[in-house]
């Protein structure tokens, strides 16, 4: 029963993704893809004949070849998506770094301009 093993594996994948979502360990936009992949494998594991039908329809010789090409394309897509996301994040980090540097410089300038200011506000609040 190789099919049972495949079914259990895909069930586990879907389960892990749902659990990670529930615990907020995974943002929804990344989870969607994995849920689709998990459900797809679940369906294929339940009805293996589906793969053979699709293979004949597309004109591929071996069902496993179709499975491989789909997996490779999918992983390629995921990699590209992650590279894009990390570029966005780096850009945001860069902007934050600039903001922090500028704010720090302005705060230090103000502190240098009126050094007594910080002390007086401290004493009034501590009363």
């Amino acid at each position: 029963m190789g099919n049972l093993a495949a079914f259990i594996l895909s069930l586990a994948i879907v389960g892990v993704v749902v659990e990670m979502l529930r615990r907020k360990k995974l943002r929804e936009k990344y989870a969607a893809l994995w849920l689709v992949v998990g459900t797809g494998t679940l369906i294929l594991a339940a009805f293996p004949s589906l793969l053979t039908i699709v293979t004949q329809f597309v004109g591929v010789q071996l069902p496993s070849n179709l499975l491989f090409i789909i997996s490779i394309l999918l992983l390629l897509g995921v990699c590209l998506h992650l590279s894009w996301e990390i570029s966005v994040v780096e850009d945001e980090t860069r902007t934050l770094a600039e903001e922090v540097a500028i704010l720090r410089a302005l705060v230090e300038q103000q502190a240098a301009a009126n050094p007594a200011n910080g002390d007086t506000s401290n004493t009034t609040t501590s009363k």
Partner: protein, 250 residues
């Protein structure tokens, strides 16, 4: 925000582990005796660049980690715009650019938005040879064509900008390799900024020598062509006479 006379010029000095030279360079710029304020952008240095620069009389922007020259310069431009400077000039912290020439390069802003202090324009003894030279000449040719004026040294880090150019830079100033020179310049030109060049003599760097390794030069050529091609296909920035909105992702 700080208020100051709007005719003051901000000298932006990106510095990454330049403790050896930054203090002297800052003192030298301030020693010229003109209305210059020096902003050292400490690009995540691990030595005491920031302390030495501050002790020499510069304002210091401390970036929490290394962003590269492009990142440091954009932070500087942002600071300039927020504190109301109308003219800025980039000067290297390694003492390569003579502070006496700052005024000459700034004078270029009288008839252009960006003014480049150029090393090859028949002045001074700065020389490179071989593939690196061809790469620089090729870049200069292409960008001169775009700018409709003769430029001989487009990778010079001795560049002045007025308010209009600052606004454009804030919209597009990549932190990538060559982003601070070729990419930003090409997009600025395509967005409608005018460019001029002022011949200046460069001094030898206080530390380090330019490499003459042919392999490195070839890589340099490849990367610069790559940067150039991308810059040529990028989206133009919208420049509204003075300030442009630079909110959100740029």
């Amino acid at each position: 925000m700080e208020t100051h006379d709007s005719t003051r010029v901000l000298v932006i000095m990106p510095a990454w582990n330049e403790a050896e030279s930054v203090g002297d360079t800052v003192r030298e710029v301030l020693g010229v005796g003109r209305a210059y304020d020096v902003l050292v952008v400490n690009d995540g240095s691990t030595d005491d660049t920031a302390e030495l620069a501050a002790a020499a009389g510069a304002t210091v922007l401390n970036l929490p980690f290394n962003l590269g020259v492009g990142g440091a310069m954009r932070a500087g431009f942002k600071y300039a715009q927020r504190t109301g400077y109308r003219r800025v000039i980039q000067v290297d912290a390694d003492g390569q650019h003579d502070p006496e020439h700052i005024e000459e390069v700034l004078a270029g802003l009288n008839h252009a938005d960006i003014s480049i202090g150029a090393r090859f324009a028949d002045k001074g003894a700065y020389k490179v040879s071989g593939p690196r030279k061809w790469a620089m000449q090729f870049l200069a040719k292409v960008i001169s064509g775009l700018a409709k004026t003769r430029l001989t040294d487009v990778t010079s880090g001795f560049r002045a900008a007025n308010e209009r150019a600052i606004s454009q830079y804030l919209d597009h100033y990549p932190a990538e390799y060559l982003g601070d020179t070729i990419d930003s310049l090409v997009v600025a030109i395509r967005s409608g900024c005018s460019v001029t060049q002022i011949p200046v003599a460069m001094r030898p760097r206080q530390g380090g020598t330019p490499s003459h390794n042919p392999l490195k030069a070839a890589i340099y050529l490849g990367r610069s062509v790559f940067a150039l091609l991308f810059a040529l296909t990028r989206k133009r920035s919208h420049i509204t006479s003075g300030h442009i909105a630079v909110e959100g992702t740029s």
